[in-house]
């Protein structure tokens, strides 16, 4: 059973507008969440993270929001740029050792297309 779910396989946004990528998780023991971006034929690259003790973390155009009660996090990209077009993976880890000694559990990814 998937512990980290990204229910939207794809998202299309106009350049300059906001992109919102969503992620849900089922395990309340997760205490750290990360977003990775992946271009075709490349490995994922780390984008931004958030600890469960926070509800928001911002880095430039990227902001991650965490709603622990809803077991939901989202990544906001404002303004969106064509270079942001990529697959975005949500990942979670738990200090209790879930997922092989606290290693990351990934979602299936959301493919973002930003149109000029």
């Amino acid at each position: 059973d998937q512990q980290v779910k990204q229910n939207s396989p794809s998202l299309s946004v106009q350049e300059g507008r906001i992109s919102i990528l969503n992620c849900d998780y089922t395990n309340s023991m997760f205490d750290y969440f990360l977003w990775y971006k992946k271009y075709p034929a490349e490995g994922p690259t780390f984008l931004i993270s958030i600890s469960s003790i926070k509800d928001k973390n911002e880095d430039g155009r990227f902001t991650v929001f965490l709603n622990k009660s809803a077991k939901h996090l989202s990544l906001h990209i404002v303004p969106s740029q064509p270079g942001d077009s990529a697959v975005y993976f949500c990942a979670a880890s738990g200090g209790w050792g879930g997922g092989s000694q606290g290693n990351l559990i990934f979602g299936k990814g959301t493919k973002l297309s930003v149109k000029p």
Binding site: A41, G43, F46, S93, K108
Partner: protein
């Protein structure tokens, strides 16, 4: 900037062949990982290592094996490749302190015919 290298980038090989996927990192990271990913699917952890001579199986069962004789090198071996092994294999490393993010290589796309 992370420096982690995987070779080959693409490999097409026949059933029954033995293959080794190479992964090297130059950052001195203790933790290294192998993930397997099929198109449109999540990354699944198949092996990890927390240091030299330490290897563990991940969440997804895999017929592959790994070794960690040197800190910088974490090769993955398939003794007898099968079409079911066709996938993308991603190697990663991390500093291993708390929630240090993973640094990924560009992956090896393996096709077994």
């Amino acid at each position: 900037e992370a420096d982690i290298y995987q070779t080959p980038r693409y490999l097409v090989i026949g059933t029954g062949k033995k293959i080794t996927l190479e992964c090297s990192q130059t950052m001195g990271h203790d933790k290294m990982y192998w993930y397997q990913q099929d198109p449109g699917m999540e990354l699944h952890l198949i092996h990890y290592s927390y240091g030299v001579n330490s290897t563990e199986k991940g969440d997804l069962s895999s017929e592959s094996t790994v070794s960690r004789i040197r800190t910088e090198h974490f090769p993955l071996t398939l003794e007898s490749a099968r079409p079911s092994h066709t996938s993308q294999y991603l190697c990663a490393s991390s500093e291993g302190t708390g929630n240090s993010p993973l640094h990924f290589g560009n992956g090896t796309r393996l096709t077994v015919t």
